[in-house]
């Protein structure tokens, strides 16, 4: 909302030496937030005078241009010679002359200059050059009654003003008018407010232009007032056009400018119809299916049965409260007018404006709530302004249909403002504040305040709404700062601590966290090579995605990570290791359930609450990593180490390790991974993730290097485990017995199986076991490999003998031989 301060002063007695910045600050503290402060014309300085064209000669120049060499009287002893390119004036016209030394808007300095064979001693200005709008079709010609020769044009044209632009909160529809802003300005300076709605009279109700309201819910008040004999060619008074312009609307014609002016002044959007183009009674109703309307913007629209329309006998002539129709539009020939001032249902207007993507000044006001009682005043104010400046007659009576409901009184405990605000506010202060914003306070005792909110504040419904008004007037800045003491808390949950530990461990291991968008495309499922029946293809769809290309919620973290990976590589980084911890969305199996329809008058029951949750898809927390290039770069210490499938598996093992989860690893053949270089990760026999090298086709699809590795792990399963305190290990200090064994096994036998058998065979004397070498080659034969393990034995209560250690080792080797056909390497 743009508010010219000079206009504001009409309704509120602001100090003469007003600091506009301070006004803006005070209004901001009242809830009308300063967006911008402009001082149009502040950069204009004279000598800028009203002058009279005494005479001119028209000259044709060789460049094809015709100019006028004018003699202009600016109130000086002798006339000035000025070259002018425009021709829309006659001898004797009053014009605005910028003499040498004048600064025009935008830092445009006027000097005497030689042009077209003359020395032009200044410039005759167009409206645009003066910052008065877009019109530059000719120079500005003043009416003889507007000014006299030698007047200061800055004052005559009201070139200088201050304009405050406010951001208006959705609950303050009243502040989308000068009337509403002025009321707050009066509060801000504790001065009188001259309410224009009381200053201007309402139209007398009677038999005017016929109106039928068929949808009372959509329109509870409709005023129609006729104006006849209006001169459509009459110009808009300069001050009025200037105010409309500074308020952010384009001056168009007297009729349009006046309707806009009244809307800005009183907040009620006004529509004017050309009476000659109306056919029969004006009807307010919902659109019928299939009806069409061409709106003022020239667009033919198909109407929705929910659209509230204004119609005449021929059909719809406007979208109520949104935009009028072309067929009944005021034109340069309209002499008889019907002025509409009405109150339309806010939600109805909001739906209509959105449906037709047609936000307008009118709909913006109606959908937030217009004062439902002001229409008869606005209608007459419009008619009077029209006839004052455009001639004609205002009909003696207006048709006024409907009666807006009276506001209900709100009862508020007198101490509520104090309790909510946290500092003393007396009932007297509350009463004064409520009256200042327009409430009618019927009772104000030490116990109770009963206040009826004003018609222009539809947002005030509850005692707490009144508290906000009281606090607004008393001052939000008076709220003291008191730190409440919360009861002792339990700290972070196990799950929260675990998530942090996992992130910290991955970061320490060289992975950088990416926070990716959780959207994906159907194409991602194809790019990942997922089978038609793969569960990851069952995704939740967004009804209104930002991009039609990515309408799904991710079922896996990999697409987002791979895109981030490709982006990093595209930006010139070759070694990238990323991780993400975030949810994926998995629709629940079976038919989706519907959530229960719940009101807000009570809390849902436990059963209803459970149904709300049951209708939501599952949203498990996952961990994903991708890595490409070197995990460890080459340097003076030696060669680089590339990221391999083993890094991906190790990332999962690391997560398992820090969360004390016993993770089992087995080879897997699951897309998007390389069938021979990927693992499934199991917890208690349940698959909770996969890791390994990505399938080369997947790498190509995402534009990441072939041999990029990745892992994804469901963290939900982990969060349940290891919550209980760990029983600390006993650290035995008896000597350790070390044994190395090398076993030759069939190369299809996984190392994990060999290790498991060795552990079992070695028995409880085994303290630790570690694979330290894998050998493949002639010495062990094709299809076989040698796995070398170092075993450490220790007992808690004694020093082991050579014989005991050897026996344990032999038992381990023997069991490996028996179960897996392993034989000791010779």
């Amino acid at each position: 909302m743009r508010v010219p301060v000079s206009w504001l002063r009409e309704y509120v007695d602001l100090p003469a030496d007003l600091d506009v910045g301070e006004l803006a600050r005070r209004l901001t503290m009242l809830g009308l937030k300063l967006e911008a402060l402009e001082s149009p014309g502040a950069d204009v300085s004279g000598p800028l005078f009203v002058g009279r064209v005494l005479d001119f000669e028209e000259e044709q120049h060789s460049n094809g241009k015709t100019i006028r060499w004018c003699q202009v009287d600016v109130g000086e002893p002798s006339a000035r010679g000025v070259v002018c390119g425009a021709r829309n004036f006659s001898t004797g016209d009053l014009v605005v002359v910028a003499l040498p030394g004048t600064m025009l808007p935008g830092g445009f300095r006027i000097d005497a200059r030689k042009t077209y064979g003359h020395v032009s001693d200044g410039m005759i200005c167009s409206a645009r050059e003066l910052g008065l709008g877009d019109d530059h079709t000719g120079i500005l010609v003043l009416g003889s009654e507007e000014a006299k020769v030698g007047d200061d044009a800055v004052a005559v044209l009201a070139l200088r003003d201050d304009v405050i632009e406010f951001e208006i909160n959705p609950d303050r529809s009243d502040a989308l008018s000068l009337r509403g802003v002025a009321r707050d300005a009066a509060i801000a300076y504790d001065v009188e407010f001259d309410d224009p709605a009381q200053r201007f009279p309402a139209a007398t109700a009677g038999q005017g232009y016929p109106v039928a309201v068929r949808d009372v819910a959509g329109c509870d008040l409709f005023a129609a007032l006729e104006v006849t004999g209006f001169d459509p060619a009459a110009p808009t008074p300069r001050w009025l056009a200037r105010r409309v312009q500074l308020a952010g609307m384009r001056p168009i014609s007297l009729a349009v400018d006046v309707t806009n002016y009244v809307m800005l002044e009183l907040g009620n959007p006004i529509h004017g119809y050309d009476k000659q183009r109306l056919h029969g009674a004006i009807t307010v109703r919902r659109a019928a299916a299939g009806e069409r309307l061409t709106t003022l913007d020239g667009v033919e629209r198909e109407l929705d049965p929910d659209d509230l329309v204004i119609a005449d006998d021929r059909g719809p002539i406007g979208l109520a409260g949104v935009m009028g129709g072309e067929a009944t539009e005021l034109s340069a020939a309209s002499t008889d007018l019907v002025i509409e001032a009405a109150h339309f249902d806010a939600p109805s207007v909001a739906r209509c404006a959105r449906r037709h993507k047609l936000p307008s000044e009118a709909s913006r006001r109606f959908e937030r709530g217009v004062d439902p009682t002001i229409a008869p005043i606005a209608a007459l104010r419009t008619a009077q302004l029209l006839t004052r400046y455009g001639g004609g007659q205002v009909a003696p009576v207006a048709t006024v249909v409907g009666q807006p409901g009276a506001r209900e009184a709100i009862e508020m405990p007198a101490d509520l403002p104090e309790r909510v605000a946290g500092f003393p506010i007396t009932a007297t202060e509350s009463r004064a504040a409520l009256e200042a914003v327009g409430c009618n306070v019927a009772i104000a005792t030490d116990e109770l305040l009963v206040a009826t909110p004003p018609s222009w504040r539809p947002d005030l419904r509850d005692p707490n709404d009144l508290v906000e008004e009281v606090l607004r007037v008393v001052g939000y800045d008076k709220v003291p700062s008191v730190l409440p003491a919360a009861p002792a808390g339990r700290g972070f949950t196990h799950r929260q601590r675990q998530r942090r530990a996992i992130g910290t461990a991955l970061a320490a291991a060289g992975y950088v966290e990416a926070v990716c968008y959780p959207f994906m495309a159907t194409a991602d499922c194809d790019n990942l090579g997922l089978a038609p029946a793969d569960d990851r293809r069952r995704a939740t769809r967004i009804a209104n995605p930002l991009s039609e290309a990515e309408p799904l919620l991710r079922t896996t973290l990999l697409p987002g990570l791979l895109r981030a990976q490709a982006r990093n590589i595209g930006r010139g980084r070759s070694d990238v290791a990323l991780y993400e911890i975030g949810i994926v969305v998995r629709p629940r199996p079976g038919e989706p359930t519907r959530p229960p329809a719940l009101g807000v008058g009570r809390a849902p029951t436990a059963e209803e609450y459970a149904k709300l949750d049951a209708a939501l898809p599952a949203q498990p927390l996952h961990m994903g990593v991708v890595a490409a290039g070197n995990r460890s770069p080459a340097g003076w210490w030696g060669p680089a180490r590339e990221a391999t499938w083993a890094d991906a598996v190790q990332a999962c093992r690391l997560v398992a390790d820090v969360t004390r989860t016993p993770l089992e690893v087995e080879s897997a053949h699951v897309p998007p991974w390389h069938p021979g270089r990927s693992a499934v990760l199991r917890l208690d026999g349940v698959d909770i993730g996969h890791a390994g090298e990505l399938h080369p086709a997947v790498c190509r699809s995402y534009g990441v290097p072939v041999r990029t590795v990745a892992a994804e792990l469901d963290l939900e399963a982990l969060s349940a485990s290891a919550a209980d305190p760990l029983l600390a290990p006993v650290l035995a200090n008896f000597p350790v017995g070390k044994e190395d064994v090398a076993l030759v096994v069939d190369d299809t036998i996984p190392a994990a199986a060999v290790e498991a058998v060795l552990r079992e065979g070695a028995g409880e004397l085994l303290e630790s076991l570690r694979l330290f070498d894998v050998y493949v080659g002639e010495q062990v034969g094709t299809g076989r490999r040698s796995l070398a393990y170092s075993l450490r034995f220790r007992a808690a209560d004694r020093t082991l003998t050579e014989a005991e250690i050897a026996a344990a080792r032999d038992a381990a080797v023997a069991l490996a031989g028996e179960r897996l056909g392993a034989r000791p390497r010779g």
């Binding site: 937030k33 906000e468 939000y476 409440p484 972070f492 990416a514 926070v515 930002l546 990323l578 939501l616």
Partner: protein, 367 residues
């Protein structure tokens, strides 16, 4: 062979004479002193203290002396041998020390060589900042509540007094899950977590809810369709605007440092009444009076909008099963990206969402 030899002429055992022993001792000690390396010392040891050294040989001749002369000669030779041994030990230590000194010198390396063999990773600053905020509140006894990102429309809107005709519920701001009859949305704020908390645990409640939220904004330098919020909720007896102000003042100081104060100004949110916008005093110009028009951070206003807050609307308490006659509460919400942007001078929203590792790596482990 060292048995007594009575036929031997004692006069001829010159090697055991005092002069001769002294000469051998002196020669031995001199040789030890002259050994310039452990190798040389080894040779000296062999020559002067070995089994075939002159003194060892001389010692064998003691038996040839008359018994009365043996003791003295024995002592004389023993002393000389002991002196040489001591000299060797001392010299050996000297040479060992010297050798190690030289070895350490030889092993000198260039310690300025970089050793970025195992590059570190990093957590994302958005994660770290959320955690830091959570830590601050946990320190005051609050708890951290979480909830689903794909949320029931009732919890995201209705329960929070956002009626079905509210503009926020249109397709213009909210991502709806298909089909719309599922009445499921991508949560537009973390407030449904507050509703869930009220519905599942009795007051008093002091929770903070960080998390991911969604609005249908196109990604640009200052907007993202996916962003993060932290919201707080306190429900207790006697809670109002002043406790809200106290909490946010403390929070602002913890996040932005001493002297960063807050300002409340009237605003509107359906779930709070009264509602306020909370501004922070501008870090750059510190709200200098008169306003510094040139301050680009606050556009000369002296204040920066941080978030929204207010006293929980009693209608919300009713819908969430809290008795407004007994309890009242406050709630607040801030954008994490926005906080990071002006706290850490992030210029472009895209830097936070694109996963460019240079961004996260720059922060180390702290924001």
């Amino acid at each position: 062979m060292s048995g007594p030899n009575t036929s031997y002429d004692p006069v001829r055992v010159a090697a055991l004479s005092a002069e001769e022993v002294e000469r051998m001792r002196a020669a031995g000690v001199a040789a030890v002193q002259g050994a310039g390396s452990l190798e040389e010392l080894k040779a000296v040891r062999l020559a002067h203290a070995g089994d075939r050294s002159p003194l060892a040989l001389a010692n064998r001749e003691i038996g040839a002396l008359p018994p009365q002369a043996r003791k003295e000669a024995g002592m004389r030779v023993g002393r000389a041998r002991s002196e040489i041994a001591t000299a060797i030990a001392r010299r050996d230590e000297e040479l060992q020390t010297e050798q190690e000194r030289r070895m350490l010198l030889d092993e000198t390396v260039d310690v300025t060589l970089p050793f970025d063999r195992d590059p570190r990773g990093a957590r994302h600053p958005l994660t770290v900042l959320q955690e830091r905020i959570a830590e601050f509140f946990v320190g005051m006894g609050w708890e951290v509540a979480e909830g689903p990102e794909v949320e029931a429309e009732w919890l995201n809107f209705d329960a929070l007094n956002i009626g079905s005709d509210h503009p926020a519920r249109t397709m213009m701001d909210t991502f709806f899950v298909d089909p719309p009859s599922a009445r499921t949305v991508l949560r537009t704020h973390t407030s449904p977590v507050q509703a869930r908390t009220m519905l599942t645990q009795p007051p008093p409640i002091y929770v903070v809810c960080p998390g991911r939220t969604f609005r249908t904004d196109e990604l640009d330098a200052t907007h993202s369709p996916v962003f993060h919020q932290v919201e707080g909720l306190a429900i207790d007896k006697g809670i109002g605007m002043s406790q809200l102000k106290g909490t946010l003042d403390h929070f602002a100081t913890a996040m932005f440092g001493a002297g960063i104060t807050t300002r409340f100004r009237p605003s509107y949110f359906p779930f709070t009444e009264p509602s306020a916008e909370v501004d922070l005093v501008c870090f750059v110009c510190r709200g200098a009076e008169p306003a510094v028009d040139s301050c680009r951070t606050c556009k000369g206003e002296g204040w920066i909008e941080w978030g929204g807050c207010g006293v929980v609307n009693p209608r919300v308490l009713v819908a969430c099963g809290v008795d407004p006659a007994v309890y009242s509460g406050f709630a607040f919400g801030m954008g994490i990206e926005r906080t990071l942007m002006f706290r850490n001078g992030v210029h472009d929203m895209r830097d936070m969402v694109e996963g460019d590792v240079r961004f996260a790596l720059a922060f180390g482990s702290e924001v």
